[in-house]
């Protein structure tokens, strides 16, 4: 599953995810009938609209599972949470028990990318970066507190020769994006991003790395607007750049 934000704003994250999954020995498919998981509307309270959009993506993912896919892998913690936790609730809320059941089946096979890679860490080749990179890991909310994916991203970063994780204050605190929250209460949203950026300025990492493009995009666009230099990368991009003989990857 590719997520709308990755598809439209950060396709390089999708490409990196595909390369890393292939390097881990996976056969990757992508059903382009998918659109979005429906999360923006669900979080805003518009369940019927969310369900309508989610159905398109549910159908696409289900078709892949029916076609023999063993897992749905999502390069975004919050979209993976939407599929796994909120899709069944969403379809139940709109009174669609059939789709709720279909969603439960798809959810049972759905993994966030780092969570999935952690189960196949042995299959990954040796990961190495030519120049040392200090990485500040942002732990995004849904992944951490809904899916309880706590250690996998850090373990993958540590598996990269040349990557040095740095400890920073509030790494597990929300970046302030929150979907429609970011436009409904923009001043509070920006203040939340600023606190993250101030904490990052203390440790001056080379890269801010996370598993949710939307959080990273929020931090990047705030940092761009203030001139504070922050460079964000999705974990998939770091791992892809550390693959042997990956001529395409640049960090």
């Amino acid at each position: 599953m590719i997520t709308c934000v990755v598809d439209v704003v950060a396709p390089e994250v999708g490409e990196a995810s595909v390369r890393v999954l292939r390097a881990a020995g996976c056969d990757v498919s992508c059903n382009l009938a998918q659109t979005c998981c429906g999360q923006p509307a669900w979080n805003a309270g518009f369940a019927r609209e969310a369900a309508k959009v989610a159905r398109a993506t549910l159908g696409a993912l289900e078709a892949e599972l029916d076609g023999g896919a063993e897992a749905v892998v999502v390069p975004a913690g919050s979209c993976a949470t939407m599929v796994r936790k909120f899709w069944p609730e969403l379809f139940d809320v709109v009174g669609d028990a059939d789709d709720a059941a279909r969603a439960r089946r798809v959810g049972a096979h759905t993994y966030e990318l780092s969570e999935f890679l952690a189960t196949r860490a042995d299959a990954l080749p040796a990961l190495h970066l030519d120049r040392p990179v200090r990485v500040a890991l942002h732990q995004s909310c849904h992944m951490l507190r809904e899916l309880r994916i706590v250690d996998q991203p850090a373990a993958l970063v540590e598996a990269v020769d040349g990557c040095a994780p740095v400890v920073w204050d509030g790494a597990d605190r929300c970046c302030g994006f929150g979907g429609t929250f970011s436009v409904k209460l923009p001043e509070a949203s920006v203040a939340m991003a600023d606190e993250k950026l101030r904490a990052l300025a203390v440790v001056e990492p080379d890269l801010v790395v996370g598993c949710d493009t939307s959080c990273l995009m929020h931090l990047q666009t705030r940092s761009d607007a203030t001139g504070a230099p922050v460079h964000v990368r999705h974990l998939a991009e770091v791992l892809a750049a550390a693959l042997p003989d990956d001529a395409e990857a640049r960090l």
């Binding site: 590719i2 709308c4 598809d7 439209v8 704003v9 950060a10 396709p11 999708g14 490409e15 595909v18 992508c30 382009l32 009938a33 998918q34 659109t35 979005c36 923006p40 509307a41 979080n43 805003a44 309270g45 518009f46 369940a47 609209e49 969310a50 309508k52 959009v53 159905r55 398109a56 696409a60 909310c141 849904h142 507190r145 809904e146 605190r173 929300c174 302030g176 929150g178 979907g179 429609t180 929250f181 436009v183 409904k184 209460l185 923009p186 001043e187 509070a188 949203s189 920006v190 203040a191 939340m192 991003a193 606190e195 995009m217 929020h218 666009t221 705030r222 761009d224 607007a225 203030t226």
Partner: protein, 467 residues
């Protein structure tokens, strides 16, 4: 509702924008909540199985709520049997009238109060003052905000938005402290203590809330760190309790379990410095305690919640843990929420209890749904799920423009071809980008952020070309 406690006139956005522009406020709030949250973590870490205790506390609250009318009856019978009076108050107005009536009957003009969110909820002080009584808050934080004519900004630390220098200046301006008074906490507390001692001694009526009410024995449990709850209940001849009707425990085993989590979740303490238990009026041979006890059991919308999908909110023990971990609260403080209860618990409770105020519904949006509150809640209230449900309720009543936007989005993105058409860079450049600066959503994103640019070739384009 009257006095301080109205949401009307401002929007949540304007209040949060004003709050985040106040650097001193944000510094004070962040410092205070970090201290609470750290102590809470350390306090819970002492326990063998903190999550097991949380599950047990949740079960206790569920059990009480499942039989709340029965538990309340037993509690009320015990109060009556021990010489107390009971008022069943369906509304805030009923509760205020009863309290004023008692105060008037005694011709009392001096009322001492121990901190109580239930009395804040019904805006009792303003009502008592209009009835001619002088009311003094005796919790230090609550006294500070009373002097500053503010509402609490935190449910356990009402003045947490003020630092000691601001408190010093307030004491000088509002109650004639010598400017030479120091700004060290011990000096400020010493000054307050001197003033408040007079209040305790002179008060004719003491008013408290209740942290827990125990049905088996008709006892009121009050926890404080200052001992003011003890003085308010021991010295004045009349004691009035305003009890939120959900704050019940059936027996002492339940009360003990809730107490052990309350202090830990609030401040990390094993127990608060003072745990005061009031059972009935002053007995024969006892030297202190009120000779007249009134318990006002406040409904004020709670019965409506009990039967519905938001009943879990009635499990709240008012520890403040959710405020202390909330990334939104730490930026905006409590006043931005606009009513008595701030933070995540307030964002759920306010729309439910203050539903006569349409602005209250906005509060369900005061969260990024990050889930930190649910992890902190000692009784495991699914705050995020309740917020989502409140957002759905609000969406049902949403204006046509907002609904039309989501309908249009759903029509386009429920089909891959239409999704593809709307996300193509050419379309984006022609339609979305020119609108971005003019539509409210674009303008809001543009508050301090650059607008992300869509890629020239989307992932789906690259996949089609063969990745």
């Amino acid at each position: 509702m009257s006095g301080h406690h109205q949401l009307s006139g401002t929007t949540l956005r304007s209040r949060t924008a004003e709050a985040v522009a106040n650097d001193r406020l944000r510094t004070n709030v962040a410092r205070a909540v970090d201290r609470f949250a750290t102590h809470r973590r350390e306090g819970l870490a002492e326990l063998d199985d903190p999550d097991g205790l949380r599950r047990a506390a949740r079960a206790v609250k569920q059990q009480v709520l499942a039989d709340l009318p029965g538990v309340l009856e037993r509690f009320a019978d015990q109060i009556l049997a021990r010489g107390g009076h009971v008022c069943w108050a369906p509304t805030a107005h009923d509760a205020r009238s009863y309290v004023i009536d008692v105060v008037r009957r005694h011709g009392a003009t001096r009322v001492a109060k121990s901190k109580s969110m239930a009395t804040e909820e019904i805006d009792l002080n303003a009502a008592l003052e209009s009835a001619g009584a002088q009311v003094v808050e005796t919790d230090l934080g609550e006294w500070i905000i009373q002097l500053a004519d503010e509402t609490p900004s935190h449910i356990i630390a009402p003045a947490l938005h003020r630092d000691r220098h601001q408190i010093h200046d307030l004491f000088v301006d509002a109650v004639g402290a010598e400017p030479a008074l120091g700004t060290e906490p011990t000096e400020l507390v010493g000054f307050a203590r001197g003033r408040l001692r007079q209040v305790f001694l002179a008060a004719e009526v003491g008013i408290t809330g209740a942290n827990i009410a125990v049905a088996d024995t008709g006892s009121i449990v009050l926890v404080t760190n200052e001992g003011n709850g003890r003085l308010v209940t021991a010295l004045p001849p009349v004691h009035i309790v305003v009890l939120g009707m959900e704050r019940l425990a059936a027996d002492w085993a339940q009360a003990e379990l809730l107490l052990s989590l309350l202090a830990r979740s609030a401040t990390g303490q094993r127990l608060s410095s003072y745990t005061n238990i009031v059972t009935g009026t002053r007995g024969d041979g006892e030297v202190d305690g009120a000779t007249e006890l009134h318990v006002v059991i406040l409904d004020n919308g709670r019965s409506d919640l009990l039967a519905g999908e938001y009943h879990e909110m009635l499990a709240c023990i008012r520890c403040g843990a959710c405020l202390n971990v909330c990334p939104v609260y730490r930026q905006v403080g409590g006043h931005a929420y606009g009513w008595v209860y701030p933070g995540p618990m307030g964002s759920v409770l306010t729309p439910l209890l203050a539903h006569d105020q349409p602005e209250a519904a906005e509060l369900a949006g005061a969260s990024t749904l990050c889930g930190a509150c649910m992890d902190a809640c000692p009784v495991q209230i699914p705050l995020q799920d309740l917020l989502l449900s409140l957002r759905r309720r609000k969406a049902e009543a949403a204006g046509t423009a907002e609904r039309a936007a989501w309908t249009a989005w759903a029509a386009a993105w429920s089909d891959a071809r239409r999704y593809g058409a709307t996300t193509r860079l050419a379309t984006w450049g022609r339609m979305v980008a020119p609108l971005a600066g003019r539509l409210p959503v674009g303008r809001s994103w543009g508050v301090g952020r650059t607008v992300p640019r869509p890629a020239e070739h989307r992932f789906r384009d690259r996949w089609r070309e063969g990745l």
